[in-house]
Symmetry: none
Subunit: 253 residues, 2 copies
């Protein structure tokens, strides 16, 4: 199944959100990662201009968002649901990491609609809500400041969903321009550079062939790390040659 189809099967459910701005931020976060199905359980204030503002180009998700009175209604047709919870609940499903849990979510999405269930900004999810889910996830945070914004939590988990969906592919290479590359330099060309460098350094007195020390190995190590291209060899040798013209050390022919 195509990654885009799997992502379209992930429903984000926000339970009793207090701030309309967070609903908008959640919509924007979802859309940037290719998700589109948003459900709101008993939102305090919605629709709201603040939600539209924070959603920017993702207002279509707000327009299509379904509102329900209970979590059970929002999950009715789903085949797998993950509770986003800051802590392990007494009887709740074992809390996993985002990476492993989103991989499970994507796996389940092969079968049908799946859901990511977020709680209220202050209170989180109730135990009764967590128990309606088949899995739970916690985003690891700084123990001294674990106050993750609701929109930010949606962003992190939707990002992990996208990473999991595309894990087989290499989508980055198709974004933007191909990085600039000139063909790699050949062994001979690279040795030519080292020879040129050694001659110049000997001429200026920087390098003493009688006491070579580790100078040339260090330069080889530096340029070896870079992986030189043809074009770069030409530039470097051009610089070297230009200093030799001035010093009169340039070779003839």
């Amino acid at each position: 199944m195509k990654p885009e189809v799997l992502l379209s099967r992930i429903r984000v459910v926000l339970c009793r959100p207090s701030h309309p701005g967070n609903i908008g931020a959640a919509a924007r976060a979802m859309k940037t990662m290719g998700l589109s199905d948003l459900r709101l359980v008993n939102p305090k204030q919605f629709p709201d201009p603040e939600a539209d503002t924070r959603a920017t180009g993702a207002v279509d998700l707000l327009d299509n968002a379904k509102i329900t009175a209970t979590l059970a209604e929002a999950l009715a047709d789903s085949v797998f649901a993950v509770a986003v919870s800051a802590r392990q609940r007494d009887l709740g499903p074992a809390v996993g990491t985002p990476r492993e849990t989103m991989a499970r979510l994507l796996e389940a999405a092969q079968q049908g609609v799946v859901a990511l269930v977020f709680g209220n900004e202050t209170m989180g999810l109730s135990n009764e809500e967590v128990l309606q889910c088949q899995a739970a996830v916690t985003i690891p945070t700084n123990p001294d400041f674990s106050s993750l914004n609701l929109g930010a939590a949606v962003q992190v988990l939707c990002y992990e969903c996208r990473m999991a969906a595309f894990s087989g592919a290499a989508p980055l290479s198709s974004q933007g321009a191909t990085p600039f590359v000139s063909p790699p330099a050949t062994h001979d060309e690279i040795e030519g550079l080292y020879g040129h460098l050694e001659t110049l350094m000997t001429d200026t007195g920087f390098f003493n062939p009688q006491q070579p020390g580790r100078l040339m190995p260090k330069l080889r190590r530096l340029f070896g790390r870079a992986g030189l291209e043809k074009d770069e060899i030409n530039i470097l040798r051009g610089i070297l040659a230009s200093t030799q013209v001035r010093t009169g050390h340039g070779r003839k022919g």
Copy 2:
């Protein structure tokens, strides 16, 4: 080194942010993941009540945030910087995924301060800013709606930093024999090399500052790929200086 210490060495740099609310959201995102070092390059409006509101319990990061006029100042003492960019730049460093690039960032943090560099909400980073970084990262997004909020982008990358810091994976440097290393060069030392190169090339006539073309960006790309060490800066500047003594172009003092 403890994960908490590594995370404390990651500096988040926001270049020319337009909206103070985003600065606050970035601070909150950082603190939830254990980061604390925030720098602002030429912010449009800061301090601002909207920044404080969005930061909630992370106002201390705003209070301690240093403001600079240029990216170079913000990066002065850093040993590795990653540009957050929506696309591959022509001569910029190759764009990696968040996971692999944050692993590199954490590896480099063993050596000193490292930086994550974010651009303006609308314009992103300039090419000149990207070229001051040794690596680049793109957060994969929906190609039809890639409009990631600045605070959300900070959240995703800080989350990946925390995951990398606590991954427990043996750092590359402990695998096999310890390779020869001198401490990494700082941003200031690397810029000093570029300045020296440019002066020398101008003196010899190889470089025309009136028609700079792509020469300096290409050299930045080459040495950026290598990741220069202090020792190597000294060698390269020694070579440059030795040619200047002969040509009489060496500076006094």
